[in-house]
Amino acid sequence: MFEFATLLAAESEEMPSVLAVPLDELIIGLIAFLIVFGGLAKFVLPKIKVTLDERANLIEGGLERAGKAEEEAAAVLAEYQKQLAGAREEASAIRTAAQADRTAIIEEARNEARSAAAVVTASAEAAMAAERAQAVAALTRQVGELALTLADKVVGEALANDARVAATVDSFIADLERAAAN
C-alpha cells in the first residue's frame, strides 16, 4: 500500500496525489499519537480509573449495606409475625377455655336451680298434702258432728211421723260416708 501510494505520488510532478503518504507526515502522525497515548495512559486515565473503581466500590458497599438492612427488616418482620401468631393462638386458647368455663358455670347454676326448685316443689307438695289431709280430717269430723246435730234435730222433732225424712237422712249419711271414703 505504501509503495503504491508513493508510486502515485511520483506520477504527478507538480502536485502530489492525495493518496501520497510522505514519510515525514507518517512519522509526525506517529509522534502525535504517541504523545496523546503516552500522556493519557500514564498520567490521566489511571487517575480516573481509580476514581471510578472507588465509586463502584462505594456503590457496591452501599448496596451491600442496603441488602443487610433489608435482611434485618425481614428478620424483624418474621419475628413480629411469629409473635403475632403466638398471641393469636393464646387468645383463641383463652377464648376456648372461657367458653368451656361459661358452659360449666351455666350448667352448675342450672343444676343448682333445678335442685332448689325440686326441694321447694317437694316441700310445697308435702305441705299441700298435709293441709289436704288435715282439711279432710277436719271436714269429716265437722260433717259428722253436723250430721249428728241434724240427726238429733230430725229425730227429735219428727222422726216418727214421716218415713220420707227417714229416707233422706239415710241417703245423706250414705253420701257422707262415700265422700269420706274418697
Partner: protein, 41 residues
C-alpha cells in the same frame, strides 16, 4: 429497528453492529467518490 423492537435489551450490540454495517457499506461508495480525485489530473 425490528431487531431493537424485538430485543430492546440488546440495543447496544445491535446499534453497534448497525453502525458497523453502515460504515462498511458506505466505505465502498466513498471510495468510488474519491477515486476520480485520486486518479484525475
Amino acid at each position: 429497528m425490528q431487531a431493537i423492537a424485538r430485543q430492546p435489551e440488546a440495543y447496544g450490540i445491535i446499534r453497534q453492529n448497525m453502525l458497523l454495517g453502515f460504515a462498511l457499506a458506505e466505505a465502498l461508495a466513498l471510495i468510488g467518490f474519491v477515486v476520480p480525485f485520486v486518479f484525475g489530473t
